[in-house]
């Protein structure tokens, strides 16, 4: 089954069927298709490259095990991000943290470690795009609750109701966080530029 787009209703239904059957080809294609987006989201969410890699794998295992729960009515990526987010929250809870929101105190928050620490050579590191570094630095300054909605809205281009579904929040809260996140990002970008 070719998965070209996940917005078409018939494609979504076919995708749901494939997930229910645990069709290996469907999973291979999905992993290929969503690898960058899922990894990027997990990286922004956890702030740690290796942890994001672990969660990336666990997310797909969970998708395999719970594939029958996907109804094919909503966007697959929203469902995928929900699973990924819940895994991160479960992990945080195991570490005696109540929720992601309690990690948002900037004083306690782990710095975002997005830079590739396993670059093949110093030359490669030196050639890294300056603007990308500025963006990472600026995003790292944004509190997690705002960073997450900003990434989901402006990077992953989810709709507000989809973000609300992923984060299990009221739409009004998502909007408030988006406005504040946008403001925070603008300020942070200016700070980096100056």
């Amino acid at each position: 089954m070719a998965i070209r787009t996940t917005t078409d209703t018939s494609d979504l239904r076919a995708l749901a069927e494939g997930l229910k059957r645990r069709d290996p080809d469907v999973f291979d294609q999905l992993i290929e298709q969503y690898q960058f987006r899922l990894f990027r989201y997990l990286l922004y969410l956890t702030g740690h490259r290796e942890r994001a890699e672990d969660f990336f794998q666990e997310t797909w295992i969970r998708v395999l095990e719970r594939g029958y729960q996907y109804d094919g009515k909503s966007k697959f990526e929203a469902w995928l991000f929900t699973i990924a987010r819940n895994l991160v929250i479960d992990w945080q809870r195991q570490r005696k943290v109540q929720s992601l929101d309690t990690l948002t105190d900037p004083a306690q928050e782990t710095p975002l470690q997005i830079a590739d620490t396993r670059s093949p050579s110093p030359l490669h590191a030196a050639m890294r795009d300056e603007q990308d570094s500025a963006v990472r630095a600026s995003l790292a300054q944004i509190s997690l609750i705002y960073r997450e909605v900003v990434v989901l809205r402006f990077h992953e281009e989810l709709q507000i109701d989809e973000i609300a579904s992923v984060m299990n929040l009221p739409i009004s809260t998502v909007k408030t966080r988006l406005y504040r996140g946008l403001e925070a990002m603008r300020v942070a970008m200016q700070g980096v530029a100056s």
Binding site: F27, I31, Q35, F39, W60, Q131, F154, I160, M189
Partner: protein, 168 residues
């Protein structure tokens, strides 16, 4: 661009423009609001710069490259295939459990009147209060589901343990 009228504009117009710039990105704008904002940005340098900086910040974020770990996708595909194989192997056993549970439900329904009489007879013989042997009859019905549930519970903690150990 003609910014001559900028000084003459009331402050609340600039505030409205900045609010609409954000709203445009977050929720989108109605055509009327969009037209008003476009007109305002034609005349106001500060708000145009504000709009530009917002656009630039978003563009930079969207185009920022994040290096994807080499081999992560193929490692994940391999693990997913392995797990799928495990689940596939477990499927017949799980089906058998449900089949046995289902059959015992059917037998339970078919024999319900006799079992009721049996419980009633034993209750009378042992001088057990009616409520107690009726509760016993109810519990009798839960036995198949309890066995199936126990088997599933035995299987699931094993999965959870292996997941937790993998993450550690």
């Amino acid at each position: 661009m003609n910014y001559e009228n900028e000084q003459a504009m009331p402050a609340n117009e600039h505030a409205r423009a900045k609010r609409l710039i954000d709203q445009h990105h977050v929720e989108g704008l109605a055509a009327q609001e969009r037209a008003w904002l476009d007109a305002h940005l034609q005349d106001c340098g500060d708000c145009a710069a504000f709009a530009h900086s917002t656009e630039e910040a978003l563009r930079a974020m969207r185009t920022a490259a994040i290096p994807f770990p080499a081999g992560l996708a193929s490692r994940t595909q391999f693990r997913v295939h392995l797990r799928a194989q495990q689940l596939l192997e477990r499927e017949p056993r799980r089906l058998a459990v449900w089949a046995v549970a289902g059959m015992s439900w059917v037998l339970g329904i078919a024999t319900a009147p006799y079992v009721w009489q049996l419980f009633s007879w034993v209750g009378e013989r042992l001088h057990v209060p009616k409520l107690v042997w009726e509760l016993g009859f109810g519990l009798w019905w839960l036995i198949p589901a309890s066995i199936a549930g126990a088997i599933l519970l035995v299987e699931n903690p094993r999965d959870r343990f292996s997941d937790a150990s993998r993450r550690r």
